[in-house]
Amino acid sequence: MVEMEEGIQRLGRQDRSIANEVQKSVRERRPLTLRRVITNEYFLHVVSSAAFLYLWHEVAASGVFKGGLCTPWEVVVRFRGLLTDTLAGLTLWGHIGASAQRIAIGFVLASVVAIPLGLFMALNPYVNAVVKPVFDIFKPMPPIAWVSIAILWFGVGEESKIFIIIIGTFVPCLLNAYNGIRLIEPELYDVIKVLGGKRWNEILQVSFPASFPAIFAGLQISLSLAWTCVLAAELVASRSGLGFIIVQGMKFTDAALVIGGMVMIALVAWVSSLLIAGLEKLLCPWRRDIRDL
């Protein structure tokens, strides 16, 4: 979205040439009126953020929710303390690391299996005929429904959490790899055929590169799902991780701990999705051409 808006703005600044006529686009300077300032989007961003924080503070300070809500400042203080103090033997960094480690293991394991499987399914109808029906049985089951059986199988240790992450990330990874190949425009294959290419050329030069953006979209989706899954697993049973922080807050009715944990999860999930986006830019540079259009 942001890229698109930037692109549009950049186009607006240059002179656009359509066929044989040149459009001069000159920005007209509008006078700075009160109305313009008030309806400016960034100004409104600031106003609404401030209003949100102020409202939060007031509601929390008024004590309507008793222990169920705390002021934003209390959250900041609590978490600044956690940077050095420990909660159940780990500092904040330790808990973030524990969650991130689970995510990394589960996410890598799932994508290493799911993406090739999805590609195979799309490329070979026999693989598809064998795997798809079984996959379709598992698809509609929310990964969180697996939490209980994972605990029955693996206990409350690391394995059960990683198992749930694998279950959660497997489906979008596989589906996107599968659809990424199936939705390739048939004209691209025709080009290879016309140029006298073999099936192998089709796969290497059309299927793989063209499915890359879809695969990365799947990775993004499954990463955000992975955070949801790890959170669910840690909420049910754990001794470390960001979900554990939230559960501790719930047990002791410590709203600062709960809200801070929520904010930390949002932050870490955001950073990890930035990492994937960066990896995508590195691994498939051709995607950028589409965005710049």
Binding site: M1, M4, T39, E41, Y42, L44, H45, V47, S48, S49, F52, F65, G67, G68, L69, P125, Y126, A129, V130, V131, P133, V134, I137, F138, P140, M141, P142, I144, A145, W146, V147, S148, I149, L152, W153, P186, E187, S224, W227, T228, L231, A232, L235, V236, G243, I246, V247, G249, M250, T253, A255, V258, I259, G261, M262, V263, I265, A266, L267, A269
Partner: protein
Amino acid sequence: MAYEEVKVRKPLGLILLPFFSIFCFFGAWELIVRLGIVPATMLAAPSAVGNLFVEKLTNPNPDGATILVHAWVSMQEAFLGYLLALGIGLPLGLFMGWFGVVRGIARPIFELIRPIPPIAWIPLTVFWFGIGLWGKVFIIWLGGVVPCVINAFVGVRMTNPTLIQMARTYGASDWQIFKTLCVPSALPMVFGALQIALASCWTNLVAAELLAADQGLGYLITMGRRLALPDMVVLGMVSVGVMGALIGMVIDQVEKRLLAGIRR
């Protein structure tokens, strides 16, 4: 595109393989439990799950309700949350797409809430609403409202700018453009949101019930784990999956009907 529709007969192997693989899957599942490769305390055979399902149709023990009651409770929560998410999320997204003032006010708060998984809200909702109906509805609503807003927003933003410029040339007001151009052109994206939001709602329903509930399919799963009854856990998972798939199909049909007039 000048493609001619050619009916290709599938080879017999391709038609039979799916049935074969499903059969093998259930056969292997039944066998590993029967032969004791996986102990019966960890996994229940499909036949045991089927038996329990028939029994649970009438017997409310040991978790306090029959499976139909559990399913009905879950449905109620899911649909309340879903409808609220549609009712609030879609208009908000549409307005955010077209009116700069709404976008300016709503965006920071939305961006703040969007990346937090709805599950993380469970403790706060327990503080605020207790473990009754509305707490779960709130979690489900949070799960559903985000995709609704995003899809409606993107739908409006993708309106053909030429049409908007033309409408401006003819002197249409902002509201007229929104009503007659932006909303109709956002409709396909909006209908896409119906499916995505439903899937999200259903996932979060299970999460909400896992942690704070005394009835519902998610609760059935939790009780199965607490009582170490794997057949109950699997039954709960299967019911959640089947119901999710069924509701998805219904929404899919509704979407097709509604879109029939648009996509031609």
